[in-house]
Symmetry: D2
Subunit: 348 residues, 4 copies
Amino acid sequence: MFFASDNCGAVPPQVIEALARANEGSVPGYGADTLSHDVCDRIRALFEAPEAAVYLVPTGTAANSLALACLCPPFATVFCSPVAHIQTDECNAPEFFTSGAKLTLVPGGDRIDPEALRWTIAAEEARGVHGPERGPVSITQLTERGNIYSAGHVSAICDVAHDFGLPVHMDGARFSNACVKLGLTPAEMTWKAGVDVAVFGGTKNGLMGVEAVIFFDPAHATQFERRRKRGAHLFSKHRYLAAQMDAYLRDDLWRDMAQRANGACDQLAQGLKGAGLEFENETWGNMLFVRMPRGVHRALHEKGAFYSLWDGTLEGGPEDEMLTGRLVCGWNTTAEEVSTLTEAVRAA
Amino acid sequence: MFFASDNCGAVPPQVIEALARANEGSVPGYGADTLSHDVCDRIRALFEAPEAAVYLVPTGTAANSLALACLCPPFATVFCSPVAHIQTDECNAPEFFTSGAKLTLVPGGDRIDPEALRWTIAAEEARGVHGPERGPVSITQLTERGNIYSAGHVSAICDVAHDFGLPVHMDGARFSNACVKLGLTPAEMTWKAGVDVAVFGGTKNGLMGVEAVIFFDPAHATQFERRRKRGAHLFSKHRYLAAQMDAYLRDDLWRDMAQRANGACDQLAQGLKGAGLEFENETWGNMLFVRMPRGVHRALHEKGAFYSLWDGTLEGGPEDEMLTGRLVCGWNTTAEEVSTLTEAVRAA
Amino acid sequence: MFFASDNCGAVPPQVIEALARANEGSVPGYGADTLSHDVCDRIRALFEAPEAAVYLVPTGTAANSLALACLCPPFATVFCSPVAHIQTDECNAPEFFTSGAKLTLVPGGDRIDPEALRWTIAAEEARGVHGPERGPVSITQLTERGNIYSAGHVSAICDVAHDFGLPVHMDGARFSNACVKLGLTPAEMTWKAGVDVAVFGGTKNGLMGVEAVIFFDPAHATQFERRRKRGAHLFSKHRYLAAQMDAYLRDDLWRDMAQRANGACDQLAQGLKGAGLEFENETWGNMLFVRMPRGVHRALHEKGAFYSLWDGTLEGGPEDEMLTGRLVCGWNTTAEEVSTLTEAVRAA
Amino acid sequence: MFFASDNCGAVPPQVIEALARANEGSVPGYGADTLSHDVCDRIRALFEAPEAAVYLVPTGTAANSLALACLCPPFATVFCSPVAHIQTDECNAPEFFTSGAKLTLVPGGDRIDPEALRWTIAAEEARGVHGPERGPVSITQLTERGNIYSAGHVSAICDVAHDFGLPVHMDGARFSNACVKLGLTPAEMTWKAGVDVAVFGGTKNGLMGVEAVIFFDPAHATQFERRRKRGAHLFSKHRYLAAQMDAYLRDDLWRDMAQRANGACDQLAQGLKGAGLEFENETWGNMLFVRMPRGVHRALHEKGAFYSLWDGTLEGGPEDEMLTGRLVCGWNTTAEEVSTLTEAVRAA
């Protein structure tokens, strides 16, 4: 019962096959090979964005940080949620890649409220040269707390940002799960709603380690290639990044993987709701944040369930204290794992 | 006839097999899996350095930059050769990861002369707080011009650096080729000669993209893990880096690959010497820098030979102008490729 | 009626005299002159800290940023109040000088609550390498909202920081005003309460532009001199920084200036209280934050009162909307200015 | 006999008077006062550049670094002489302010040769994304070795830079000395010869610490104000920077000071030539680099001459070893000092 994260599971066989397929003969390095060009073209087609600038990088943190560095000079600030991955889980990588820009946290939860955003951006103006320049707005889809922004919500945020002339970045580590859940195309989820730069995540959805950064207006991708090289993220054997993306795009594997993960999560949600539990996230793709007493959490861990507690530890507190657990489903979460966990919850 | 680079070839089947083998079940992320621990232990054993701190990263530039960042504060300078990869081919990555340290070029060629190094380090002292603090010495083994430092040469350089209290970093992108050529163990090539931090390169010697950074004194690895995360180089699915290294270490694949590449290069060298050519590098592992008239270079390219010209272009100059070509052999360079090239040179 | 800031007034004649006095003959540059050595010694004596490392810089932002850079590596975070000058008024200078460290805002007001601090520091631990290392705690004395930390409060904050092994930095732009108000010696205000690094501000208290950075444990001042030079803050004609500080220290001018400013502020506070106004800051040195209706603010500005509105503008809202004005007294604020303003408030 | 540096002398009385004159009443901070606006206008007039963006900063290193940061992104390189102040005497400040750009040294001496520059810039192109982008060219007038670029030489360098679309920065720490020596106007020395950004130095020519950065095309001054604030170089009491510049511009004090310094240097040159000495710098403003035996240097120091040896020390070598001494004249170097030194040389 492994519900700890969507980056702990194995990759689907198609990825290994794609690597083996790409492993033929000598090809130019550093992304100049045919396959690398080809997958970038296919990403443009998938996003209905023939003019977009598209780049592959190996990690989500690299994707976010390099994208933000293109949008945000060192004397500016990024607007994001207090629980944004770029704020809490990247060990100052955005500050590093932007050469010292700040993150301004928009008060509220994981999904940025457009009015709170408007107020926060406006407030930054008052200080003139004493405060940072106002930089991009960054949202995460689905969010770090498992919620999904509707297309309308994304659009409302982009409208606020654009009112101030600011671009919008979407951290799409779980982009596929959101598209699938909402029944939206990648284009509808991004540029049609106003997003300027999106990360099309692969790593959490079944790849070994590949993300695509997509600038819908190539003018935003200021020297991305030199920034990527300078960040040590330009792979000499770029074909092996491309190969993974090749597998991802073939036969809509990205969609298929996300559907599996979301399906398992829906099944899990039904089971847990039946057991009377409450979820912190109102909407979900492949993650649930579940409130349960410490005693139940411990019982589950003792039965072999792996997942993270968000606001406490298994030991060191009263048995009936309510703690939040994060349950993440991957493409390979089995119906059996889900039902075993559900049973265990009922039992506990 | 592909002699352009050792990062253009396919990887050996063992690497694909190791990835497939590692692709089982769910494991902890970010390097906390068993395989990741295991390969680091095996690297320690290979280098006879049980106390060493060992980390995997995906690119050589990441390996060098993160290693130097641990050794060099922003107000210091790195001593290196004018043709060092960190100086000429990393698009300011060392400056980036060190937050703005300088590189001081030791006058001379690709192999640093110990006396020139001593003079250069000494000269930096005169300026006090107006100049940078003196930081690490960095050497590349084998060098960017294909030469090999003997163990004695490495030792002489380390002695100079240590006289000033400075640590020594070895960029080992082609470390295996040097070990094999010299018949030295990894320990003899590094810490036994005085090297403080070494990069054990995999990418140019048959892996998809993995390098190991080895701090023989773990005290030098100041916060490497946070630096790696901040640089966006911590792989969540770390097992796929580890798997490649697993293949590399099994049955001494690293040595076998290097032997093949070096062997092809020796064969090539004999052939070209027979054709009366001169090499710029006096010693070599898997690279030759060959002086030939432009007309010969063009004839070879027309016959399908791929390699880089170092100091000019195929077009735009007299036919008899001597230009240097870089010929690189990989583990998969065939005897046929070598003889075809040799024949073509003779014919031209 | 100039209550806009304590950096808008003239300097006392003693400062001009000291500059003229120092303007004799040729002396070594870059702080190697006798006067520079002498004033650093006198600062050590004033702070009863014979071992302290003391440096002069021209601006408060330089003092804070350089101090924090010594205490905080790029992959760490500084704990401060949401309204700290380093957070709101230095245009990312702390991020710049630390090479990209983060600021973590301790929930609450301008004076950090020790328990909120403890909780905030503790919470940073959970994320391991995914979050920044925990760095220094920074407090401002007196605060940006005009409040004063008692010695006991400072001590409680230092205790929390030290429990986690973290150093404490005190932004002392208005340090003198706090000492005078509390009747504490500089030593009692700083190291005796646990402060590790203090900025002894001169610019807001009558100097042209000089601040002293004081590391009570010189081991904290890692390469301050090279950092200062690298930040372009090492004055070649350092004697003119020293001369200002010379004036400041002579006959306790620093204390005299602060007493005048505080005295004017107390007088103003009595007057405004008499007029029935409320202050946002419970305690004060030389600044009051006063809540008044917009109409009153406008009337005062029309009568020639200069000061800043903190949460709105003179135009564009209802006359009776309560807005906060910041009234700052300097060493040269006259009793007449104070009474004129008080009268004007009563009238309005 | 103080010939050590032009930043060791006192300032002329006009500077103290200007500070006293500016020390009246309360004025807006951070450069919003009338005097600050006024001196910037007068600098525009002096340079015949009504559209120029002009900023004051306290140190030459700040002026250079901030100017370069506006012209040079982190992934680029600055072209300069191997002995440029930005390379040898600013402790990585250019690297700091540019967030990690590199300096590429143009082979040759202190005065950049246009053809060497062309070759060096061209060579940087070959590496594409593996090397840095090509950034600004920086020259120092007069140079760090005391030489002067003729207007034609400056023009030739600017032509090369502009051929590649690169801007030119002039470090003008001793700008006034060059103008006076060549009989050129500031405009002729800068934008009329093609210079894009110039530093009009004051500190080495009699001010306490002020330099003006002048962008002839304001489009080059990208966010200079935020960069200055972020670098902690925005003075709150900006009037005291402006006051110094006010004195400098009044009655052409800048020119008068430079004439005095140059005059003393010419007198010194005549005297030393008469004594049979050779100068390393072929042309000069207020600095001579003189070759003399160690024994003579020691004799002079024993007689009270203060100046720096450039390539050795007074002790520790044969008496007849030729060493270079740097002799710098300031506005306040007296005829007596000059003749005393000359006599001492003759005697030794």
